[in-house]
């Protein structure tokens, strides 16, 4: 058995689904579900730890900037 190494990547979706063959209704359904999914995620309250982290980084930066004033040439 000889195997050819020149196999091509199949760009088609498998099982006979044509990538562009979706009807308008399906596209609309997927689009709106995607938006709902995203909205739901985006509206989840942001945990405090992220804001605290950035406040901390900001504060560190200010401290080190004051502390090392004049250290950096130009």
């Amino acid at each position: 058995m000889r195997r050819k190494d020149s196999q091509r990547p199949t760009d088609r979706a498998d099982k006979g689904t044509t990538p562009r063959g979706l009807d308008v209704r399906s596209l609309a359904l997927i689009g709106s579900a995607l938006k709902s999914h995203y909205e739901d995620l985006v509206q989840t309250p942001v945990p405090k730890k992220f804001l605290e982290l950035l406040d901390q980084l900001d504060a560190n930066e200010r401290t080190s900037r004051v502390g090392s004033a004049g250290d950096e040439p130009e």
């Binding site: 979706a13 979706l22 995607l34 995620l41 945990p47 982290l53 930066e61």
Partner: protein, 166 residues
């Protein structure tokens, strides 16, 4: 000086970063690790951000790189333990005009991350094809074909092709 406004800009992007991270790895808890990591990196490399370009796209690039370089294997092991995709979500509306969101999430979970991320970036986060291509490090054409394959697969999984005979 401008550091504070950079901070505010970062804060404003946290919700979309979390949404993207959650969709990428399929777990809220781990997504937050990823977001935290991306925020730290963004802060450290703030000088590399070019003002006038999309901060969101820049942050997504950072987050995505961490995901593929460090986190992916780890995520696979624990994927869906606290699953977004398994979470029960009450969805209003009938099935004729809306997809059940829980079903949709499950279907999303079956897509390869390369397809999921394109759906999120182009279809939900409102990034352009060009921005998405830059984030993913591929050509615009690749983004477009991943997008159609992702939609076809979703349609398949959700049985959208089978038209109701009414």
């Amino acid at each position: 000086m401008s550091q504070s406004s950079f901070k505010d800009d970062l804060v404003a992007e946290i919700p979309s970063l979390r949404a993207f991270a959650t969709s990428l790895c399929g777990s809220v808890t781990l997504a937050d690790d990823l977001v935290q990591d991306a925020l730290l990196k963004a802060w450290t490399h703030a000088s590399k951000f070019q003002p006038g370009t999309s901060l969101r796209a820049w942050l997504f690039t950072i987050l995505r790189n961490s995901y593929y370089s460090q986190y992916r294997r780890r995520f696979r092991e624990v994927q869906d333990s606290d699953g977004v995709y398994a979470r029960d979500v009450a969805v209003a509306g009938n099935q004729e005009s809306h997809l059940d969101l829980a079903d949709f999430r499950k279907a999303m979970g079956h897509l390869p991350p390369e397809q999921r991320e394109v759906l999120m970036l182009v279809g939900a986060s409102g990034l352009t094809y060009e921005e998405t291509a830059a984030i993913c490090g591929v050509e615009v054409g690749t983004i477009k074909s991943r997008l159609s394959r992702a939609r076809a697969k979703l349609s398949d999984l959700l049985g959208l092709d089978e038209k109701p005979s009414s």
